[in-house]
Amino acid sequence: MTRVRLRGSLQILLPLLLTAAVFGIWDLVVRVFDIQPYVLPAPRAVFSQIGTDWDVLQPAMFQTIEEFVIGFAVGVACGFVLAVAMGQSRILQRGLYPLLIASQAVPIIAIAAALVIWLGFGLTPKIVIVALIVFFPVVVNVLDGLTNVDRDAIALARAMGANDFRILLHIRLPATLTPLFSALKLAATFSVTGAVLGEWSASTTGGLGVYLLEQNSRLNTAGVFAAILLLSAIGIVGFLLVAGAEQLATPWRTRPTPRRLPFRRSRGVRGRAVPASIKGGSS
């Protein structure tokens, strides 16, 4: 009992202590090397900047979060669907894969301007940029998961008379969850950069990226770092949320049993992909 509690609190305490240490070292470096405030501001200056400009930073933060979340969702959905389609068709896979790789080799900054001219200045081009960044790791990982499903498991399912659809549903798709979440954790951190790049291309809306550029133009590096801190916070929270979702969606990776539902026992076992049936079934 005590051991678990200690580990739990240590899990939160340790990163917090390390973060405090990083800020401490940062402050020390600025002071010891007498760094000019417009090159690297002290942490205190950054925090006070966050306080001063909070009325601007807060809506900017929500703007960037909106771009991040919607773009992330779109990217994941497209990536997943594409991966499943490519997993089912070898031709599609061979044909599309090189195009997908090429899409990632193009620097986002180069296409951002073109996207803005097509799609306007609002939310849409930013969502597209974030989605572009997110969808590729999702496709690669989910496709990997699909192609690396144990052939013997599929043979077993076939021997049991399952059709292709049921094999997809019960054997192949669940095998994609683990690689999917790996991709999502990566994507959650990349997406923040994507949102900022989108804001940098052209914008009528605000956002932390826009704030960052404005502060940079005024040589207010404390402002730049304020935006950076908030962007990091968004990335960290995003990552933690994905990690949490991973825990819920793939409990078998870390737990011996699924989480208990209060009414589990009387119904038998909680099914996930399997629908429950109340009347006597057939065999």
């Binding site: 000019q36 803005v116 001219i117 200045f121 052209a202 914008s203 826009v210 404005e214 940079n216 133009s217």
Partner: protein, 334 residues
């Protein structure tokens, strides 16, 4: 097994020879340079543009070398880095904007303006050919701007002259270039200067833009660009700074008298940066900006005292200093 070892050895030898070659070329360069004094000049923009013509001409005609100067041109990673380089001593001279100098001085950066590049404010609002507009007619229109604070401030002052505010217009901020948006009719008007955005509209958009200049609508008529230097470098090398200006003035005069030749030299030095047509339009639009009663690069108190109160009012500067704290004419010579 044997083959693998061979491959590793070959790679290591290749890497070492590359490093050695690099080392020898570097030491060869510095051997030449010890006869000359290196002056590191950081620019205002990461990519070469026609504003650099005076010192490119001076360099490529060998006039700096003849005066004992090895000019090193340093493009900054981003526009905000120019004064950072100057302030930290990574550069000696900088081609920068008046706003950058004011912001830097507010943060106690050791820099000072040593010469005005242009003598007036040539910033304003640019519209497409045949689309005349007034400030008042901008109500409800879309304006392409850049993400810097002084653009918004100047725009705000201009609008005030027609009793409008920023909320009466729709602003679209572009990070690098607002002209494509104007040409693609995604914005109604764009902010810019006569010798960049307007040049672009003329040469790339193949049309004559309609322009309203900010200084006609209440915005201070301060020059946009100037040359600044690191103060401790100036203290140690006053003669070098003066010599630099002497050479640069000579190149400037030549470039004004021979615009086509000057642009040709620019194109030779930076063939991919701008098209010849654009660079020529740009340089020709810049030439009128140099004219000054006190001679090229001359600065006055008025250039600063007209600007600083406006900046204070727009909350961009907290504690303006007296003009003489920002500039000195000590190095530009007679």
């Amino acid at each position: 097994m044997k083959v693998r070892v061979g491959v590793v050895v070959a790679v290591v030898v290749a890497a070492l020879s590359v490093v050695a070659a690099y080392g020898t070329t570097r030491s060869a360069a510095s051997r030449d340079a010890t006869k000359l004094t290196t002056v590191r000049m950081v620019q205002e923009w990461p990519v070469a543009d026609g504003f650099w013509i005076p010192w490119i001409v001076a360099r490529d005609k060998g006039w700096y070398k003849a005066a004992g100067i090895n000019l090193q041109i340093i493009p900054p990673p981003t526009v905000a880095d120019t004064v950072k380089f100057l302030g930290t001593g990574r550069a000696d001279i900088g081609f920068t904007t008046i706003l950058d100098v004011i912001f830097a001085k507010e943060q106690n950066a050791p820099i000072v303006s040593i010469g005005a590049y242009s003598q007036s404010n040539n910033w304003g609002l640019i519209g497409r050919q045949g689309e005349k507009f007034t400030v008042a007619s901008l109500k409800g229109k879309t304006v392409g701007i850049y993400n810097d604070a002084w653009t918004k401030a100047q725009l705000s002052i201009m609008l005030r002259s027609a009793h409008l505010t920023l909320s009466d217009i729709k602003m679209v901020a572009a990070a690098s270039d607002v002209v494509p948006l104007l040409l693609a009719k995604k914005v109604d008007v764009a902010t810019g200067v006569t010798n960049a955005e307007a040049s672009e509209v003329r040469t790339i958009g193949h049309q004559k833009p309609f322009m309203l200049l900010a200084k006609d609508y209440g915005v201070p008529n301060s020059p946009i660009w100037l040359l600044a230097a690191n103060t401790s470098w100036l203290q140690k090398n006053p003669q070098l700074a003066k010599t630099w200006f002497k050479v640069t003035k000579r190149a400037l005069a030549w470039s004004i008298a021979n615009p086509v030749g000057a642009v040709k030299m620019f194109e030779k030095a930076y063939p991919k940066a701008e098209s010849f047509a654009y660079a020529l339009d740009q340089w020709k639009s810049t030439i009128p900006l140099f004219k000054s009663a006190g001679g090229y690069f001359h600065q006055t108190d008025a250039q600063w005292s007209s600007l600083l109160p406006a900046l204070k009012q727009e909350k961009l500067v907290k504690k303006p200093l007296p003009p003489k704290s920002y500039y000195t004419n000590a190095y530009i010579g007679g």
